[in-house]
């Protein structure tokens, strides 16, 4: 372990670390634009400059490409270093439009932060800025603002080293250089493309979904798990901060997913997610079922629960189809409270791949498009092709059940979250909450358990499955 000295502080570095890595690992911050912990070192932005002190004198060099060597002395905040950082920021902002007022990245932009922290002085240039394309259509999902781009090449390296789509490149040279997509538009088909939006240090790569939707400081993230496949990537679901609730404007926005970004989890997804994970609003913001019903007749939630309990009590051969979108906690509650009351309980696969969706690859995407198959399977058997004919009650929890194939004459209790024709046909329909309304955890295909937190409050007419199961399990109504 080489010992090095950063700003006079002795640090035990790993032999294969760079000075930048050793500094960051020891709580010493050195600014960086182009360096990224999961990408190769390109060393083009030059902001990570440090001063190396040696007997013969000292010199400046970039720290992201500087291997640590035993006994070296490095300064991260000398006068020379500060001056050079300012110089780099002069260059970076020379042709940068500084249109933060209308930039989605404002508030989480590295350039803004560094300019504030290290420069603070206006440009010395008196010449007109070099203009470049704004709103370049980079892909179906992303627009590119070449004026804001600082050519750090992170996005390009991402497509070469991580998603392997080789979909982006840099054309031309000097200050005419432009990030451009391969002309065959293969970036449209890169299912990981949106990660470049996150790793872009500035507001050059913008999500079309999120474009001008919100200032990020009005939003807050809630840690969650992508239910898009059995990888179960850790994500942040961004939504309006309670203290910035909208009252006058469309208040529905208060309970909407503004965007989804990855939450780094080395055991599951590293710092990346696929585009499906970005589109959770498409899953969670479908029209919700909020009305409990008996054969399509609206009733109070309590009445629906009573009716369901009665059916379970009366059944001689009840079968349950449990949801692999249920959390581990819900599944355990079902097992504990209700499993004994059912002749058999099977795991249902709630969702299948959608047309055009990538089925699986050797990076993140898995073929099973449900988040908790592993958690459910640990407690219940896989559903058979056909349910036993003798079943007189089927409890269906979650989506993906073909009601036409249930045993004829069997009663149905359906716990669902979204509007669907089946809801009205069930003997009892009880609306249940969705992932964004409750706390819980999923177990992914590799056995890693990941927790999620609620983002929004559920409606009072909607039940939480975990407590619902306990209520359904009560045999005699104490108050009857």
């Amino acid at each position: 372990m080489p010992e090095i000295f950063i700003d006079g502080q002795a640090i035990q570095a790993e032999p294969d670390q760079t000075v930048l890595q050793a500094a960051l690992a020891n709580g010493i911050f050195i600014p960086y634009f182009c360096w990224h912990p999961h990408l190769s070192v390109h060393g083009n932005c030059r902001i990570c400059v440090v001063e190396v002190e040696a007997k013969g004198g000292s010199w400046l060099d970039i720290s992201c490409n500087m291997p640590v060597t035993e006994g070296m002395h490095v300064l991260t905040d000398s006068e020379e270093v500060r001056a050079q950082r300012k110089a780099i920021l002069q260059f970076v902002t020379l042709n940068h439009p500084v249109d933060c007022g209308i930039c989605d990245k404002a508030g989480e932009c590295t350039l803004q932060d560094y300019h504030f922290a290290y420069n603070g002085s206006p440009s010395i240039s008196r010449d007109a800025k070099v203009h470049a394309t704004k709103f370049f259509d980079l892909s179906k999902r992303i627009v590119l603002d070449n004026e804001r781009c600082i050519l750090c090449s992170r996005c390009v390296r991402f497509t070469r080293e991580i998603s392997k789509s080789h979909a982006l490149g840099i054309e031309n040279r000097a200050d005419h250089s432009l990030v451009r997509p391969a002309e065959d538009r293969r970036f449209d088909d890169d299912p990981y493309s949106d990660n470049v939006i996150d790793i872009c240090p500035v507001g050059a790569l913008l999500s079309k979904q999120f474009l001008y939707k919100a200032r990020v400081w009005y939003l807050e993230p809630t840690p969650s798990v992508c239910p898009g496949c059995e990888r179960g990537c850790a994500v942040q679901i961004w939504h309006r901060r309670p203290e910035w609730r909208l009252n006058a404007l469309d208040p529905r926005q208060n309970a909407e997913i503004a965007r989804v970004t990855p939450l780094e989890n080395p055991a599951v997804n590293g710092p990346w997610i696929c585009n499906k994970g970005r589109d959770l609003a498409r899953i969670f913001e479908r029209a919700r079922a909020e009305q409990p019903m008996l054969k399509g007749k609206p009733v109070e939630l309590a009445a629906a629960i009573d009716a369901a309990r009665r059916l379970i009590d009366e059944a001689r051969h009840a079968v349950a189809l449990v949801s692999n979108w249920g959390s581990n906690e819900e599944l355990a509650a079902f097992k504990q409270a209700l499993a004994g009351r059912f002749a058999a309980s099977f795991v249902k696969r709630d969702r299948q791949p959608e047309p055009g969706e990538r089925i699986e690859d050797d990076f993140l995407i898995r073929a099973d498009k449900n988040p908790n198959t592993a958690g459910a399977r640990a407690l219940f058997d896989d559903a058979p092709a056909a349910l036993p004919d003798g079943a007189d009650l089927v409890l269906v929890w979650g989506e993906g059940c073909d009601f036409g194939r249930l045993p004829r004459g069997a009663k149905t209790v359906f716990l669902g979250s979204y509007l669907a024709p089946e809801n009205g046909h069930a003997d009892v329909f009880i609306p249940v909450s969705i992932q964004t309304e409750r706390r819980g955890s999923y177990t992914n295909f590799a056995g890693t358990v990941s927790p999620f937190e609620p983002c929004f409050a559920k409606k009072p007419s909607v039940a939480d499955a975990e407590t619902l199961f306990a209520a359904l399990a009560q045999r005699e109504r104490a108050t009857a």
Binding site: H166, A167, E171, N172, R173, P181, E183
Partner: protein, 154 residues
């Protein structure tokens, strides 16, 4: 481009194994010699032949000034305007060519005969000013010499 593949195969023989990517530049040069420019279909063909990412070929085409993706005039008149040539009359020569051909650098005459370009040092500064006509250097040029040179061309 397909008809050039036998030539490419011969070229490949002197490269070590695993150097397919290296062939991008020589193949593009050869394609351009053949067609006068590199067409989109050539890019597709080359990508399929070499197995390199398409974006690499596109980047290369945009980076090197000699490569082009559009046809130009039959005669490419490239006039050096770097320091040594300018010190020996290149700027006057370029003005002369502008007037003579009636086009600005970067443009092609209406009859498609000449494309005028300016270039940076051609490595021939001792015989400045230098004009490159298609592939050949013409050195120690003057207005009179350039008139004689271009006069005889179709």
């Amino acid at each position: 481009m397909r008809h050039l593949i036998p030539e490419f195969e011969k070229m490949k023989a002197r490269y070590p194994a695993g150097f397919e990517s290296s062939l991008v530049l020589p193949c593009l040069r050869r394609i351009q010699d053949d067609r006068g420019f590199v067409a989109d279909s050539d890019i597709d063909g080359l990508v399929a032949y070499l197995g390199v990412p398409r974006v690499q070929v596109e980047e290369v085409l945009s980076f090197y000034t000699q490569l082009r993706r559009k046809p130009i005039g039959r005669w490419h008149v490239q006039t050096c305007r770097n320091v040594s040539c300018s010190m020996r009359g290149a700027e006057r020569l370029i003005d002369h060519l502008r007037k003579k051909l009636g086009v600005a650098p970067g443009e092609t005459t209406a009859d498609g005969r000449f494309t005028l370009s300016t270039v940076e040092c051609l490595g021939s500064c001792g015989t400045a000013p230098v004009v490159m006509l298609n592939d050949a250097y013409h050195e120690n040029m003057s207005a009179e010499k350039v008139d004689a040179l271009l006069g005889g061309l179709e």
